[in-house]
């Protein structure tokens, strides 16, 4: 009987031979327990066979496409081994010919003007002291500033150094030296210097010219006179190369420029309230320095900074064009270092910054991406003007005229536009309305999908994920817009913020 019980399931499934099936049939009629067991087996089988829900299939087309792709791969006949050997030999021959040709035909490149400038900057770095923190060293810096011998230029550069003085105090828009008082820190660059060092006598512009520490390093007029323009561009710089990533810079170059900038800022009585590294795709791409200065002296300081960092960076006022900035915060020219640490430092060093509290534009990380940088450089180069953007405003709010060194002034991003083309922003965020439109489309698509699929099917879940992402994006966009409203006190402050971005884009450093 035990053997027959083992065959019970097979009997119910009709999988037993006739003789064996007859035996089980007889046993069932005689054994009620076995019959009850059979009924239970049949009940379970009935449920499993009849009540299991069949999932609705999907993905046939995808599978057919995958199969057809594999078919095409299979149709390509495999090359015999001798073909591969032949191909390898040909490739090796071509490679060897290219290498030999390159070695024989490529003469050593002569030293370029760029090399000269780079050498001058490195030499300056070694000779130039960083701005000391104590007042005790001020006389030394003064001596360094005003004594031509203190900053000896390289022979090839210093020969023409004095030929083209930079018109610092004479820059358009500068405040006449007569308004400068002892220690007042006002009145053009002469006034800045006098105020900074406690000297009541305004320094004549010509005295300052050519002796600013950062100037000789990077500025053409001071180092070696104007560089010959690159053929076809009208610019003394090398033509912009879109294929060159402005992300890899010489740290020494950045350091020298920053030292020079800090020096000028200190002398001008302004304050560095924050600085941060500019990050490029390959790491450190330069330096951003945020400077607070009396609004009346902003234009003059910018003019001086321009001569210091020359064509290596950007000077901009992130608060100068609030309208454009508020419309699209991400197009603000420059990365504003508004980290909590910087804000704390700004409040500590510049009490009037309290008026900016909470209104510093916060630019999302990575906003200044590679395309933007390229675009800005392209714009400035294409216009044949110097590669910087200044505040573009005189203290009374009027647009500043063109500087003596051929620089184009502008406000914020608009300045870049005047230099040629505007910066390219490929990360334009969607407007809330556009996001809501997309959401509506996706929701309709989901409704359509639910006709053919279960809610837990992959196509529906993918749409659900897209909807969730868009909803998050919509919330973030609304929050961002709420935070970037213009401040009524932004322009009421007596101090201005100037952002200096040192971003050497020198072809020789970006192989």
């Amino acid at each position: 009987m035990s053997d027959l019980r083992d065959d019970l399931k097979a009997y119910l499934d009709g999988e037993l031979p006739p003789e064996k099936a007859q035996e089980v049939h007889d046993a069932l009629s005689q054994d009620p327990a076995m019959a009850a067991e059979a009924r239970e087996f049949e009940a379970i089988s009935s449920i499993l066979r009849n009540e299991v829900r069949d999932p609705r299939p999907y993905g046939l087309e995808t599978t057919l496409m995958a199969l057809s792709g594999r078919d095409r791969e299979a149709e390509i006949p495999a090359a015999p081994p001798w073909v591969w050997i032949f191909r390898g030999a040909v490739a090796l021959g071509i490679g060897a010919a290219v290498v030999i040709g390159a070695v024989n035909l490529n003469p050593p490149t002569p030293k370029t003007a760029f090399d000269t400038r780079t050498t001058a900057i490195r030499d300056l770095t070694q000779r130039l002291d960083l701005p000391p923190k104590s007042n005790a060293s001020m006389p030394d810096r003064t001596e360094m500033l005003y004594a031509p011998d203190a900053i000896a230029l390289p022979p090839q550069a210093s020969s023409t150094a004095a030929k083209a003085p930079v018109p610092l105090a004479g820059a358009p828009g500068a405040i006449p030296p007569t308004v400068a008082g002892p220690g007042g820190g006002g009145g053009g660059m002469g006034g800045f210097a006098g105020g900074g060092f406690g000297n009541s006598a305004p320094i004549p512009p010509s005295t300052l010219s050519g002796h600013l520490p950062g100037g000789p390093g990077v500025s053409g007029p001071i180092v070696g006179g104007p560089l010959p323009p690159v053929p076809g561009t009208g610019s003394p710089l090398a033509p912009f190369r879109p294929d060159v990533t402005p992300a890899k810079v010489d740290p020494a170059l950045v350091k020298a420029s920053e030292a020079a900038v800090r020096h000028v800022v200190k002398v001008a009585g302004a304050q560095v309230v924050g600085s941060s590294a500019l990050r490029g795709v390959e790491g450190n791409a330069g330096r951003s320095i945020l400077v607070a200065v009396d609004a009346r002296h902003a234009a003059a300081l910018v003019e001086s900074l321009r001569t210091v960092i020359g064509q290596m960076g950007t000077v901009s006022d992130p608060f100068d064009s609030p309208t454009a900035m508020d419309q699209n915060p991400q197009t603000v020219d420059g990365v504003v270092d508004a980290s909590p640490r910087t804000m704390t430092k700004a409040r500590a060093t510049a009490p009037s910054f309290e008026k900016y509290d909470g209104n510093l534009p916060r630019v999302a990380p990575g906003v200044r991406n590679q395309q933007q940088m390229r675009g800005q450089f392209a714009g400035s180069m294409g216009g044949g003007s110097n590669d910087f953007v200044s505040t573009g405003r005189t203290p009374n709010g009027a647009p500043a005229p063109v500087g003596a060194a051929g620089a184009t002034f502008g406000g914020g991003r608009g300045g870049a536009a005047t230099g040629g083309s505007n910066a390219v922003n490929l990360d334009q965020p969607l407007t809330p309305q556009a996001i809501e439109d997309q959401l509506a489309k996706l929701r309709k698509k989901r409704t359509d999908l639910l006709i053919d699929f279960y809610p837990d099917a992959v196509p529906v879940k993918e749409v659900d994920a897209d909807i969730a992402d868009l909803e998050k994006q919509l919330a973030a966009t609304k929050l961002s817009q709420a935070k970037s409203k213009p401040s009524p006190t932004r322009n009421a402050s007596g101090r201005k913020l100037i952002q200096i971005m040192i971003r050497p884009h020198l072809p020789g450093l970006n192989p």
Binding site: E40, V52, D54, G59, T63, L67, R70, D71
Partner: protein, 165 residues
Amino acid sequence: MTPSELSIAHIARENYDAVFRFCARRVGAERAADATQETFLTAQKALRNFRGDSQVRTWLFGIAHNECRRIVRQKRLEVPLLDLDPQKRSSEDSEETLVNRQALQIALARLSEEHREVVLLHEVDGLTYDEVAAVLGVPTGTVKSRLHHAFLNLRKTLQPVGGGA
């Protein structure tokens, strides 16, 4: 149709739904499409070795069975509960007195992999003992034995609810 006349696209069109359902019961509906596609891609590679000893569907189920086992191991998936449709319940509903359906789902998931597989192949997928043996690569007697023990286990698990024999 002889193996030489088989085209993988034709096979896919004919058997896609069955293979999809087969996979969905083992890896869940979310991963069923991937498993099914992998099954047919594998079948495409192995098509020239298919001798036609078994039905194409059985051959595909064998490939799908291995693919689903690989996915379950790789993703460490839990055994999905068999989805029972209450609308398909018979009007007489005589089984309700004997079998609690929810308990059956759980009991089936608790079976060993070998026992559960033969139950699914035979009862749900509708394969004969020989076909199940071909899919699993085991003798037919083994299938018969496993199925019997699987049902004994199910019955044992369901006994408190069903009243027992």
